[in-house]
């Protein structure tokens, strides 16, 4: 599926290059464009990856489970989550057709799934993957000034605050990623991040990572 996505992206880049080469004056803007990247295609892939990403055991509801070992399940779920994140990025950049409502629905569904995976999943690997995907999305959205950036940012803040009770490694990863994002993205508001972190630090103590972020 990742190969398929890469193929889509390559097609899209080629189409853009040919469009630029031909020039916009010819008027045939859609001639070089790949017709494969449509909203319905994306929705189809999203549905497919949802089957893997949603299930706790990572086996499709009606499908055959390829393996029964836990590691493979986690891996397939992580793959599905990162595929969804990539799809979102692709959809944001490349897919312009379709109803805006339907696009918003798809995006909300992906965000909800990533949110659940980052907070409620029992597996640490899945949490790491979901949070990493969210950080990638945040960076892309903030740099392109997309309307979904605040939602992703809020999800990450919740995840960061809740990670204190989860695992030290996850907390360190979140803190390091957040620090990196703060360094790179100078236009995101820090007030909403500082308030819960300060409260948490004064209630349940602090460590070096917390102070590094400050």
């Amino acid at each position: 599926m990742h190969d398929l996505l890469q193929f889509f992206q390559q097609q899209h880049q080629k189409a853009q290059q040919t469009q630029q080469a031909q020039g916009s004056a010819q008027g045939s803007g859609g001639s070089g464009r790949s017709h494969m990247i449509t909203l319905s295609t994306i929705r189809h892939i999203v549905k497919f990856s949802f089957l893997y990403a949603q299930s706790r055991t990572s086996t499709p509801a009606n499908g055959n489970s390829g393996s029964s070992s836990g590691k493979v399940d986690e891996r397939s779920r992580c793959a599905a989550l990162s595929l969804l994140a990539e799809l979102w990025l692709l959809m944001d950049v490349s897919v312009t057709d379709g109803d805006e409502k339907k696009r918003a629905e798809v995006m909300k569904a992906i965000l909800g799934l990533l949110k659940r995976a980052s907070r409620e999943s029992p597996s640490l690997t899945v949490k790491f993957t979901a949070n990493a995907c969210l950080f990638v999305l945040l960076e892309a959205f903030v740099q392109n000034q997309r309307p979904y950036a605040p939602y992703v940012y809020k999800t990450l803040i919740f995840s960061l605050v809740e990670s204190k009770n989860d695992n030290q490694a996850l907390r360190e990863f979140m803190m390091a990623s957040m620090s990196q994002s703060m360094n790179v993205l100078r236009q995101i508001p820090v007030g909403i991040l500082i308030e819960p972190i300060i409260k948490q630090c004064s209630l349940s103590g602090y460590n070096e990572d917390d102070l590094n972020l400050l």
Partner: protein, 225 residues
């Protein structure tokens, strides 16, 4: 006027001292405790520690507001005063926040409160140390157990007051010298202005006398009749 100018000329002997005092003031400003602490302790660690590159991220963030800065300072101030482990790590964000909002009244109030609490703690620690007879740890040599808290506070106040008086004397001395200099130059300028006016009127009169222009009748009252 001449006598007054001579008085200022006498003050010129103090001119050599002026530069010296200005330099003293500059040095005093540069060697204030915060600068010393920052230069001696923070900068070397900032240069040689890799983890320091990540520090003061939100404190130096362009979208940080005063309210959030106060929240951070509140936490950091507690850590600086009470936690010897993480104390040094908090200097950077604290300094960057204090440098960033120096004009905000809330932050100035915070600094006042912080200094108050810090001095109180210092005094308590010194008292405890002196009471325990640990003279090595204490920089002030109080007579243990004989002086009351109020007396020792007075001693500390006197110390700080002396520091302030020294600083105030230096500033006052410099200001007096500058004032004298200004007066001296103003007087000289006044004298020069009067002399130039006299010279100009004399030249005009000579021109009128020899060349006829401006006519001498300008200087006589009959011109106005």
């Amino acid at each position: 006027m001449v006598g007054n100018s001579w008085k200022h000329v006498k003050n010129l002997t103090n001119l050599t001292n002026l530069a010296h005092h200005c330099f003293d003031l500059l040095m005093y400003k540069l060697t204030q405790p915060f600068f010393i602490v920052h230069a001696l302790f923070i900068l070397p660690f900032s240069f040689f520690s890799i983890s320091n590159f990540l520090r003061a991220i939100t404190s130096s963030h362009p979208r940080l507001g005063v309210k959030s800065a106060l929240l951070i300072l509140d936490l950091i101030g507690k850590i600086v005063l009470n936690d010897p482990v993480y104390c040094r790590q908090c200097w950077d964000p604290m300094f960057s926040l204090l440098r960033r909002f120096p004009r905000q009244l809330q932050l100035q109030n915070f600094v006042l409160r912080f200094v108050k609490v810090a001095l109180k703690q210092l005094l308590q620690n010194e008292l405890r140390a002196s009471a325990a007879g640990n003279s090595g740890a204490s920089s002030f040599d109080f007579d243990a157990g004989q002086q009351t808290l109020q007396e020792e506070e007075d001693i500390l106040l006197q110390l700080f007051y002396q520091v302030d008086v020294e600083k105030a004397n230096k500033i006052r001395y410099t200001i007096i010298i500058c004032d004298n200099l200004l007066q001296f130059f103003l007087n000289i300028a006044h004298v020069i202005f009067v002399l130039v006016l006299l010279w100009f009127s004399f030249v005009v009169f000579l021109c009128g006398f020899f060349c006829g222009f401006p006519p001498l009748s300008l200087f006589s009252l009959s011109f106005f009749h």
